[in-house]
């Protein structure tokens, strides 16, 4: 039985697991050994069997020995830890780059050719570099099967990289606590053979096929699902983090604008402003500052489709 997450699917696995095995082996040896010695002493030198203690105040020789041996062992542990970690810090120049955008509470993956997905598709045996961007708070990308993890920090540009070595579908978790739906912020990584990946990546027909929509409203819903709107806004009238979308279009809402209350009608203009400048008009009863601007993420065309979808939620 292997005690780590059983899939072993990246170039880092061997070195990371070597560090694990060495440290765990030494730890179990000392845990079992010291506990056994202690229990043996407790029985053997119980006062019933050993009524008179022999006073021993110490031994320089022993102290020296049990300082040196643990020092050597922990330095070896440090070395294995360092050796397994060092290559994670430098991505090869020929890495295939993907941008990961984290937001409360989902990740999206953006490819150079404009594809945007909620599953991370990567080619097997090709170094992949993930550029990590956060829209709001700190998140963390964790792929146990690859043995990698890196925080996604707003306002800074960090990266992680790996070479997937096995085809399959693996878990990707957010491991930095980020609020209400933190435990639902997980995605999947799909490792494909290079050939299949290239086909997926360049196949525009498939792109059309995957965007199989009959109306702008359906397209709007897909955009909103991908970008994670429904984590905070329900479509059934229940209150989550932000106002529900149910019946919102065409109705009046009370908002706070620069601290003063006013009433506005939810129309195309208002929806666009709420997406680009979420802090401008905050609906009464909700907190300012939780939602980030989606300027640059959503085009005017996307917003038009979203608006069409909202109209259907009466």
């Amino acid at each position: 039985m292997y005690i780590l997450a059983s899939p072993q699917a990246s170039n880092f696995v061997a070195d990371v697991d070597r560090a694990f095995i060495f440290i765990l082996a030494v730890s179990f040896f000392f845990l079992i050994g010291l506990t056994a010695v202690m229990i043996y002493f407790i029985f053997k030198y119980n006062r019933k069997r050993h009524p008179k203690a022999v006073q021993i105040k110490g031994s320089n020789w022993l102290e020296f020995t049990w300082t040196i041996i643990p020092t050597i062992l922990v330095l070896i542990m440090f070395y294995y830890g360092w050796a397994g970690w060092k290559p994670m810090k430098t991505a090869p120049d020929d890495s295939f780059e993907i941008t990961v955008v984290g937001r409360m509470w989902n990740f999206t993956f953006e490819y150079d050719n404009g594809r945007r997905t909620d599953t991370l598709f990567v080619p097997k045996d090709q170094p992949v570099k993930l550029n990590l961007r956060s829209m709001d708070v700190i998140h963390s990308v964790y792929i146990p099967a690859f043995r990698v993890k890196e925080d996604v920090v707003p306002g800074s540009e960090k990266f992680m990289w790996f070479t997937p070595t096995n085809e399959g579908i693996y878990e990707l978790f957010c491991t930095e606590y980020c609020g209400l739906q933190h435990s639902y912020m997980y995605n999947w990584v799909k490792v494909m053979p290079q050939e299949d990946f290239n086909k997926w990546y360049t196949d525009t027909t498939q792109q059309v096929a995957s965007a199989e929509v009959t109306s702008p409203a359906a397209a709007g819903k897909r955009i909103m699902t991908n970008i994670g709107c429904f984590a905070c806004h329900s479509i059934d009238g229940s209150k989550i983090i932000g106002p529900s979308f149910k019946g919102i279009y065409g109705h009046e809402v009370t908002v706070k604008t620069d601290g003063s209350e006013r009433t506005v009608t939810v129309d195309d203009e208002y929806i666009k402003r709420s997406i680009y400048e979420p802090g401008a008009d905050v609906v009464d009863g909700f907190n300012q500052g939780l939602m980030q601007s989606y300027r640059g993420q959503l085009s005017d065309d996307d917003i038009a489709k979203i608006t069409e979808y909202l109209k259907t939620l009466q």
Partner: protein, 538 residues
């Protein structure tokens, strides 16, 4: 110093009648022993609140999906659990209770150096606890930031950051006052003939701790000022939306909060260093090495905070420096374990309740410490950071280490503190149930973390289910043990058989005074002759 004729020495500190009566005789008492008990009772109350919150969390996690509460409530529960347990239990910890009660007696003094300051530190503690709890409960949003209050999330949720950090600072101030008091007491008030190398190990551990309290707590003050600048004047310090750096917040937070962990484990080790020689009836093995290792842990422990941040994006140099320092701090801890076990060698071991707790302390502390090596190495840390493994490691050290030592200490010093003995059968049953429950509760977390389950998870995938069930069952067993232990102690404090002055044949000075001790401890200040010492068994 002459004994004041007004202070009767045949009346114990519990029965002594001063100018106040009833509750006031306690909350305005400057007697270090009464202050120790004030801390004991206030911490016990808060601890039980923390335990109930912990139970609620474990119950929620018995199955995937919703069990008893919504995600929002779960996040609030783990936040308040952490805040109470860390800032109100762990940080005052053993020094506030047993340090206050035992330190002056163990070094042959009538009280601490500044008794009024000592009382003030309890009041400051109560004020700080009140501030933190109200700030957590009365924010704009629910308190769902975790006890670490990481920026920028904590700024976005409407949590009361400023009052919460102010409360942490006030609590820290209470630690500073206690620490200062202890340092001066140990420098100035040791009994004649008690040189530094004859001071018992529990006071030594308090000495190391006191310096950490004194030097680390001001960092909270600095953080407070920076958060205030940002919140009130809009200067970007931590919030990236204002141009600040959230990683700076993590550094400042851990520069204080990591040494805070040593504030609690050092006195726990100190108490074990008293209990093992007493029940082995043998001189402690390697006294000087234990003193040096205490000071080494206190010193090096100050420079390892970065190991909480290996995935935060620090520079590579910072990462391996913090990793190697973390490994170095493990060495003095290992040396302590070797010396404790060697103390048992050729002893005459009297296996009593405090010894059960102390021996099981060594076992759980080994697990906690060794699992610390797993998260101390870089490659393995990257895999395990922010998973359930860290929660397991942390609870084995903080609750295993401190909890087992605390219960060892209270069963050891109970007859001295209350003048009565507890029921040993029930005490041993309580210990056994508690230990089994403890292992069942926290061991599965190691497995879950190895399988990749992130921490602070309200819901989880089916693959993590089985181990979570075991953990929840463990929490019930452990709580049963805890209830038995606490009820037994409470009943015995009132109705237990009268205890002797020295029931365990201990050699430190607290066993030379009556149980419970009189108000000013000693009739006559004791004196160490050339061959006297705290561990001179025959």
């Amino acid at each position: 110093m002459q004994t004041s004729s007004k202070i009767p020495t045949d009346v114990s500190y519990l029965e002594y009648k001063g100018k106040h009566k009833g509750l006031k005789a306690w909350i305005f008492s400057t007697d270090h022993k009464r202050i120790g008990l004030l801390y004991l009772y206030s911490m016990m109350t808060l601890f039980l609140v923390g335990v109930v919150l912990g139970l609620a969390m474990k119950f929620e996690l018995i199955a995937p999906g919703k069990t008893i509460m919504e995600a929002k409530d779960y996040n609030a529960v783990f936040t308040v659990h952490g805040v109470i347990m860390i800032f109100m239990i762990v940080i005052p910890g053993l020094p506030a209770v047993f340090g206050n009660f035992m330190l002056p007696i163990m070094i042959g003094a009538k009280d601490v150096a500044f008794p009024k300051l000592n009382l003030l530190s309890w009041w400051v503690y109560i004020a700080g606890a009140f501030l933190v709890i109200t700030s957590v409960l009365f924010g704009d949003g629910s308190p769902d930031t975790g006890w670490t209050f990481y920026a920028p999330y904590s700024f976005k949720t409407g949590a009361n950051m400023l009052p919460a950090i102010f409360g942490a600072f006030v609590l820290g101030f209470s630690s500073i006052l206690t620490g200062l008091n202890f340092i001066v007491t140990m420098h100035r008030m040791r009994a004649p003939g008690m040189t530094w190398t004859k001071m018992p190990l529990f006071p030594w551990s308090l000495y190391g701790t006191a310096w950490i309290q004194l030097l680390a707590t001001p960092i909270v003050g600095i953080t407070l000022v920076l958060v205030a600048l940002e919140r009130i004047f809009g200067i970007g310090v931590f919030d990236p939306a204002l141009g600040g750096d959230p990683i700076l917040y993590q550094h400042l937070f851990w520069i204080y909060s990591h040494p805070a962990v040593y504030v609690m484990i050092l006195p726990a080790m100190g108490a074990i260093s008293e209990i093992i020689p007493t029940f082995s009836q043998k001189h402690i093995f390697g006294y000087k090495v234990l003193v040096v290792s205490t000071l080494a842990i206190a010193f090096v422990g100050y420079f390892v905070w970065g190991h909480h941040m290996f995935t935060s994006g620090m520079s590579g140099t910072a990462q391996y420096t913090f990793s190697i320092l973390t490994f170095l701090v493990a060495i003095p801890s290992a040396i302590k374990v070797f010396n404790w076990i060697s103390t048992m060698y050729k002893g005459s071991i009297n296996v009593q309740t405090p010894f059960y707790w102390a021996a099981s302390f060594i076992f759980v502390f080994l697990i906690g410490g060794l699992s610390g090596l797993v998260v101390g190495a870089l490659a393995t840390n990257v895999y395990l950071h922010d998973t359930a493994f860290v929660v397991g490691h942390f609870h084995f050290i903080v609750f295993g280490g401190v909890g087992f030592s605390f219960f060892a200490a209270i069963h050891y010093w109970f007859p001295k503190m209350f003048g009565r003995m507890y029921d040993t059968t029930w005490a041993n049953i309580g210990w056994l149930i508690f230990t089994i429950g403890f292992l069942a509760l926290y061991s599965p977390m190691f497995y879950l973390g190895m399988q990749g389950m992130p921490r602070r998870y309200y819901d989880y995938m089916e693959e993590f289910h089985a181990a979570n069930i075991l953990s929840t069952l463990g929490s019930w067993v452990m709580t049963l043990g805890l209830i038995i232990v606490i009820i037994n102690l409470f009943r015995s404090a009132k109705n237990g058989p009268i205890a002797e002055a020295n029931p365990w044949n201990g050699k430190t000075l607290e066993w030379t005074v009556p149980s419970p001790p009189p108000l000013e401890n000693f009739d006559e200040i004791p004196e160490y002759k050339e061959h006297d010492g705290p561990y001179e068994y025959q």
